[in-house]
């Protein structure tokens, strides 16, 4: 009862009540659900059944939450190898929705939802948005792509269930996004952080001051972003920027989200059980250590996902958040374990390139990292699109810009890179997310 009182005292949406469950009660719920999901996957999913059998494991081996570490991991290739429906635990008659990854190469990753799965997904998004201080009466523009990608429809259902008025603009057409934002008095936007930066730049060109709009919250996700991007967004617009996290393999957006304290992302762990493991050995790591996030869906029916390796590097934060939520938090995802590039023996993350560009230009131009091997030596070229904001009609000014980018990258990365200025909108994008790395090295 206490949790309910607390929730209403903080003015939260009733759906946020599970966020405040007393810890002992939450662990008990998790264990119950963990046992059930492992049993269900063992019964219904052949792939999982044989993995368990190989290790001589049975569902009864889960006696406490820590026993999850005995179970085999699930990785992305398991979804590819069993394409399209191999990991389904529900018959198609119970499935009400299918989504798929964009899949730049080969077959996509397919995910499915029962009616109950959609309800859970919707409920966690309501909890995300409520945590961002949004409520009935807000006008929310959903500028994630609608379609096979989980971003658009996921956020849409959540926003509607919250009671907000939804403007489903989907991605693209920046001028129209800005016009509607202004004319409708939109109060919150959901999109990728890079797309919002693009909207800020475009609004300035159109003479719209993003600091003067009623827009007060931006819920940004679907790609890793940085604290410097947050500062930049909050300085150049009226929004309070929130980091939302999710992945289609688990459910879509809504696995975790920041609250107004901005001290990490609360994981909706009554549905998604988090672990941190060493990305090299797979050994579990204690709270507070940095490692790879592994998630188990505790209530998903159509595709129960056991110990899914997200490849995202983060840590579980210790101590309770000032907002009073009892569910654990994870640190902002800065990088992915499979994001890391090794160039001439040096570890390089695309997020480092991103921070350097943002620091120089005060805006994030679209960029791409091209890796080649010349005479046995790795070469890294960073191609940067020249936005109208960066463009200057003097050669010297552009060469100066190129030099500044070069200097900042050399400094941050510790290796010599080539910088090439390329035409705006010339680099490939998919789902509104830019393709950041092209590796042409043949090993």
């Amino acid at each position: 009862m206490n949790s309910i009182l607390e929730a209403s005292a903080t003015g939260c949406h009733p759906a946020s009540v599970p966020d405040y469950t007393p810890i002992a009660q939450l662990r008990e719920l998790q264990l119950q659900r963990m046992k059930a999901v492992v049993a269900r996957a063992s019964q219904q999913v052949k792939h999982f059944q044989s993995r368990m059998a190989e290790r001589g494991l049975a569902p009864q081996d889960i006696r406490g939450l820590e026993d999850i570490a005995k179970l085999p991991f699930t990785v992305k290739s398991d979804l590819r190898d069993t394409y399209p429906f191999g990991l389904f635990a529900s018959p198609m008659k119970d499935v009400v929705r299918l989504h798929a990854s964009s899949g730049t190469t080969g077959k996509p990753i397919v995910v499915a939802y029962t009616k109950q799965d959609i309800d859970v997904w919707t409920s966690v998004l309501v909890r995300c948005f409520a945590g961002c201080g949004l409520h009935r009466g807000d006008i929310m523009q959903i500028a994630y792509g609608y379609g096979l990608f989980t971003g658009g429809l996921g956020a849409h259902y959540g926003a509607e269930a919250l009671g907000a008025a939804v403007v489903p603009t989907s991605g693209g057409n920046a001028d129209r996004q800005i016009m509607l934002m202004k004319d409708f008095g939109v109060t919150a936007i959901c999109c990728t952080p890079t797309y919002f930066l693009h909207l800020i730049d475009r609004a300035a060109e159109l003479g719209v001051d993003m600091k003067e709009l009623p827009l007060r919250a931006g819920v940004f996700g679907a790609e890793p972003w940085t604290e410097s991007m947050r500062r930049h967004i909050e300085n150049r617009s009226s929004v309070e920027a929130f980091d939302i996290y999710g992945l289609s393999e688990i459910i879509g957006p809504g696995v975790a989200c920041e609250c107004r304290c901005h001290q990490g992302l609360h994981i909706f762990e009554d549905h998604f059980y988090p672990e941190i493991v060493d990305p090299d050995t797979g050994e579990p790591l204690p709270d507070g250590s940095e490692g790879e996030l592994v998630l188990t869906t505790l209530s998903k029916q159509a595709i129960p996902m056991i110990r899914y390796r997200t490849r995202d590097i983060t840590m579980l934060l210790t101590g309770q958040c000032e907002c009073g939520r009892t569910i654990r938090r994870m640190a902002r995802i800065g990088r992915r374990s499979d994001d890391m590039l090794i160039i001439r023996g040096v570890n390089v993350f695309p997020s480092q390139v991103e921070s350097a560009l943002l620091e120089i230009e005060g805006t994030l131009p679209n960029y791409q990292i091209i890796l080649t091997r010349e005479q046995g030596l790795d070469q890294m070229e960073v191609q940067v699109e020249v936005t109208p904001h960066m463009f200057n009609d003097k050669i010297g000014a552009l060469q100066g810009l190129q030099g500044r980018i070069q200097g900042a990258l050399d400094h941050v990365l510790g290796i010599r890179v080539r910088v090439a200025l390329v035409e705006a909108n010339s680099l490939a994008r998919s789902e509104g997310k830019a393709k950041r790395v092209i590796d042409r090295r043949t090993s």
Binding site: P388, D393, I395, L398, Q399, A420, L421, E423, A424
Partner: protein, 142 residues
């Protein structure tokens, strides 16, 4: 007095000037002068066109990085020393020429040069005082 010049960022690759030129042609915009400043890797196309507003909007909507800059068109007597005299009018004024190029049309024995100054208004004042003829846009485009 000031004339709007359109600049465009292009990569130094085959076909990269043809595409915007075709776009302007298809929309009935006449390119009165075109000057390319280039490096090994990229270039800046600078153009004076019959309708700069329409051209800038069109190019922007096709995703180009476009800048509109104010430049001056200055009449220079087409004989040895003509340019030196005009430049002499700026001596000691501290006015800096950022770049310049020739306009490909002549009128009555006069050459026309396009100048980009850091401070075009100061340049106009100085040049007119020295009796140098600065052309208005409509004179240039007629």
């Amino acid at each position: 007095m000031k004339i709007q010049q359109i600049s465009l960022f292009v990569e130094n690759k085959p076909g990269h000037i043809a595409a915007p030129a075709r776009l302007l042609a298809e929309n009935g915009i006449d390119i009165r002068s075109l000057y390319l400043a280039d490096t090994q890797q990229f270039g800046i196309v600078r153009m004076i066109v019959s309708d700069w507003k329409k051209a800038a909007g069109l190019l922007e909507s096709h995703g180009y990085a476009v800048k509109v800059t104010e430049v001056l068109a200055i009449q220079v007597p087409d004989h040895p020393g003509g340019l030196a005299d005009v430049l002499g009018a700026l001596d000691g004024s501290g006015i800096n020429i950022e770049y310049m190029y020739a306009f490909p049309f002549q009128c009555e024995g006069q050459a026309i040069l396009i100048f980009r100054f850091a401070d075009p208004d100061a340049a106009i004042a100085h040049l007119q005082k020295a009796g140098v003829s600065v052309l208005a846009g409509d004179e240039l485009l007629k």
